[in-house]
Symmetry: C2
Subunit: 375 residues, 2 copies
């Protein structure tokens, strides 16, 4: 086959404190022996994609230029944010963590995949064509569409990583925040299936209902006046000593650790000046609140740990066998446990449209966009 | 030998929101076969002792009653602090983590210790006599006085635990805060001896001088206008990825993690949206600031951990061999590396004197009190 030419969404930070999104024409040379070229049919917009796409740019400052077919969106980046972006300046970056599509060309060792539908990980998926190693792709079953298979990696593997972490580190129940999210719903389904108690923290009655509808037994609404007491009860009932927090900034993580400490002290009759001997683990994996993490250490004793959590380092730590099993489960349950629902499907061009862009950047619960680069 | 009677300093929290310190007469029955009775000659007042002694009581509210020989000091406890003290209410607690003295009686298996001078751990050392298992005591060399041997456990073992933690967790240098403290000076001496780079953070030029006088190569003064830059330079030069923080509340711990992240990014040319891949560990072991820990997570990537640190759980994790070696080293270097200097020696009665009490509760750098219960 000849070289393949297609459009690719690119994000670049410029030295003049701007960030530019554009569609660039790229030429893919013939695949190496272990490579495939995929015509991308579907790629979700995950919160982590928005982080790379727009970084610290001010979304309201968007200015559109270029042509209708090849729009260019330019944003201002606050001066104070530029230092952290030094290594991005002038580097045109491809975006899109995961996607799915049809294999249109393959190297010598991957010929069997030609014509097959695959799910892919590895970045640069907001493209008409993507060349990658066959090991970074998974063949989808016949009955699974690209839309259904596009989000097989980020959320499913993260939710499964939470459960694996629980097992590896010897906990028996989990607390999760922003729990009605796409990821949170997957986690609840896994936990129901595997018999793992999960305490869901949400921020509205509507979100609580989403989780109850899929069978959640423990849902605490942080807008409830008795949130603290209810959370503590649920932590005591489940014995949860592990939490995954999507929010990060503020005091919610600390409140969870405090609930765990209080629950531990309920069964203690002897005074310990250093707090309970119960080890409490909080992982921060998301950044819905960019502010500082505020930990009330006087209320949680000394037996606690607060850590950043990222899928990549977890996979390294867990090892290839655990990772293979996680991928296998994600594939098997892609249309059930790990089904994603999209509120809109857009083209590459539309991803640069100011109104559409503001809309998918809202990250509202239940709202998730899909890019279809064939449109 | 007959029963031994002596005075013991006791702290009790009362349901009426008060805390009382008193000297109680206690009778020690004959020691069991593996026990000894020690006439306590010296017991230091460590910050951790003050925590148990006075808890959340308001020091300024002190009211003295009782007799000159048996004074009673009573304090108010703020209502809001009482919940955390529920399990202390009505429990008369002995105080004093460590001390030294002469063995005056011993059970069948410990007779060889009679007349010997020992260092002790295990609490209740602010007493004229203390009964304990011989395993909780260490015989001091002939030339070591009780004053010199009284503080063999808390600070020396904590400082040694920092170094052991560094080795166990694969770091190669350490950052320490409130570094001119008694403990900090010990840590600097250990690190100089063992060839471990140590970055000392202090809060005044005087404290910096204390450390330079014992040979410190890296001292950063947080009151220096260029503190941030200097700290970052020192972290980069030493490759420190591990910090022990005595302060806890506020942003200093986060500033250390940020310095580590910046130092890591100095050598990076490629943009990583998740920050550096350098793992950064902060342990909070002290509580000079009781406020919340404020962690600026947007400036430290995802590869970080903030934990409480306490000697007891560390020893469990490290195992008995490591612990035995640490104790042995503390004993061998008790008059050199681990020498403590006291600004005043007081009697048990004086420990309840309002002015003296306010003075030793100030926890000023270089000020450390010793109780001599024989006075």
């Amino acid at each position: 086959m000849n070289d393949v030419t297609g459009l690719e969404l690119r994000s670049i930070v410029n030295a003049d404190c701007t960030l530019t999104l554009s569609l660039e024409e790229v030429v893919l040379s013939s695949p190496a022996s272990d490579e495939i070229i995929v015509r991308v049919e579907a790629a979700p917009i995950n919160p982590s994609d928005i982080g790379l796409l727009l970084s610290s740019a001010d979304i309201r400052s968007v200015r559109l230029s270029g042509s209708a077919d090849r729009p260019v969106a330019t944003f201002s980046v606050p001066q104070g944010r530029m230092e952290a972006l030094q290594t991005r300046i002038g580097v045109s970056m491809a975006v899109g963590n995961e996607g799915a599509g049809i294999v249109v060309d393959a190297g010598r060792d991957a010929k069997a995949l030609i014509g097959k539908r695959v799910a892919m990980a590895g970045g640069g998926m907001y493209s008409q064509y993507r060349k990658l190693k066959q090991n970074d792709a998974v063949e989808l079953p016949e009955n699974v569409s690209s839309v259904a298979g596009a989000a097989m990696f980020v959320n499913p593997l993260t939710a499964l990583a939470f459960v694996e972490t629980m097992k590896m580190e010897g906990h028996k129940a989990i607390v999760h925040t922003a729990a009605a999210s796409n990821l949170g719903q997957m986690l609840q389904k896994i936990c129901l299936h595997d018999g793992i108690p999960l305490v869901n923290i949400v921020r509205s009655a509507e979100q609580a209902q989403i989780l109850r509808d899929i069978g959640a037994a423990y849902v605490a609404d942080s807008t409830d006046p008795d949130f603290t007491g209810k959370l503590e009860d649920m932590v005591a009932q489940t014995g949860a000593t592990l939490a995954f927090d999507a929010i990060g900034g503020g005091t919610l993580g600390s409140q969870i650790l405090e609930a765990m400490e209080h629950a531990a002290n309920r069964t203690t009759t002897e005074f310990s000046r250093y707090g309970s001997s119960l080890f409490k683990q909080l992982y921060i994996y998301g950044a819905l609140d960019l502010g500082p993490i505020v930990t009330n250490r006087m209320a949680i004793g000394f037996e606690w740990s607060v850590n950043g959590f990222l899928l990549g380092p977890f996979i390294k730590k867990a090892g290839s066998e655990v990772y293979a099993a996680m991928r296998q489960r994600a594939l098997q349950e892609i249309t059930t446990t790990f089904a994603s629902h999209y509120s809109a499907t857009i083209s590459l061009r539309e991803a640069l449209d100011p109104d559409t862009l503001k809309s998918y950047c809202r990250r509202a619960t239940g709202e998730k966009y899909l890019i279809d680069p064939t449109r």
